[in-house]
Symmetry: C2
Subunit: 250 residues, 2 copies
């Protein structure tokens, strides 16, 4: 019997051109590598649907992926059984059976991302692929205060890349905060969804707030302007990690 199984997947995005499979098979994507491993393990061609199309260089701890499979492996044993087939930068951490009409993207209630900025005095090569480097000392309290301007339901047109193809640019940010952990400044944001490059543009804008160039009211005005040119730069992909995706069952 075919079961729809929802997997929770973590990956280091450094060596991939993003999640989404490309028509050019020479382009290494997480989805491509993931489907290869699944197909080897289940000894049949397996395709999957990811909840979030993370960009090139973006990481994930809580990506959610659906597969339809007829297998005798008990669902709770799937992660341990699958992982030896995965490349070392992809790990399956959980598997549950879901309804046959469940969709990981459309049924999602909220998503949480983190954006990490390395804000030490010196460049740190160890974190170069997992953070954005900023040598100018950022005031994380100013950033946290300014970040609250994003909260609530807003038209985030000013924070969408021109490539954005969503029907509506209205999104709801449930929570956003900025804190310092040693040399890292970490932005954590939870919303019902995000436009193309939205979090990276928010991060670029909050870096300006951390430098004292703009504040809460300026961000309110940028949102209202609906003009991408008024927001900050698109911060690099390496700082971004998909942390968690929530459904009504967890």
């Amino acid at each position: 019997m075919l079961n729809r199984i929802l997997l929770t997947v973590a990956y280091d995005g450094s060596n991939y051109f993003g999640w989404q499979k490309q028509s050019n098979k020479n382009i290494q994507t997480v989805q491509g590598a993931f489907e290869n491993a699944l197909s080897k393990f289940f000894k049949t061609d397996v395709t999957c649907i990811g909840a979030s199309r993370t960009d090139r260089g973006v990481h994930a701890l809580g990506q959610r992926v659906v597969i339809d499979i007829d297998t005798t492996v008990p669902v709770d044993k799937i992660p341990l059984a699958l992982n030896p087939f995965m490349p070392e930068d992809i790990v399956v951490n959980n598997a549950v059976i879901v309804k046959s009409d469940f969709h990981p993207r459309y049924d999602c209630i909220k998503k949480t991302y983190q954006y990490k900025i390395y804000n030490g005095k010196f460049r740190n090569p160890i974190f170069r692929k997992y953070s954005e480097y900023c040598s100018f000392y950022l005031d994380e309290n100013k950033m946290d205060t300014a970040a609250k301007a994003f909260k609530g339901t807003n038209d985030f047109k000013a924070f969408a890349a021109s490539k954005n193809s969503s029907k509506t640019t209205v999104r709801t940010i449930f929570d956003i905060h900025v804190k310092r952990e040693y040399d890292f400044v970490i932005i954590t944001v939870t919303g019902d969804g995000f436009l193309y490059n939205m979090i990276r543009i928010m991060a670029g804008t909050l870096i300006m707030a951390g430098k004292g160039q703009i504040d809460y009211n300026d961000i309110k005005n940028i949102i209202e302007s609906k003009n991408r040119n008024n927001a900050g730069k698109t911060a690099g992909p390496n700082g971004l990690t998909l942390i968690e995706i929530k459904y009504d069952f967890g």
Copy 2:
């Protein structure tokens, strides 16, 4: 005029067979890559002496390296000028002129290393090259208490790999502590020097303490036994980072 210059160097050791240059030039080492970059920048063959011979897979934030060079570049401008010549996983963060008879290894007063254990419920591919994974929940307080057994001047023969070639196995540990930061358990240790694999064997032994298998008194007894077989396993290299090396001038 030839000046002896002391550089502070950070590197991600993931892609190297350790610091020390090998006779086989096909083996990528940090020292080899570093000397290549120096030679290109100064347009002459440059050799260097590192303070610590970090192993394959071990990282450094505060390696110290000495070169003898005749250059018109002001010493404080050397890091910024050199970095574009370095591979992306090696960064020069400081440069000072030292006496011509200064030796980065023999003149060292103390060294600080960190050993990072990823102790989350799930494997995290993002940190796979920068931490040791342990799925069993470690009690960091038990580890911290047990770690104090290492403090002081001791014969650490039980904590040296058989390959160790030091004349004496007596070393002084000035300070050692263990703390938890979210899913990481971090051992920080400062000493006048360390035997071959010493910190990794200490980490393997402290992991046993974190599981409740041994305590402070057991570690005292292991030290006294001077028998490598009584200590824990050698923990993997990826968790180890050279943090700082101190001289009488800083």
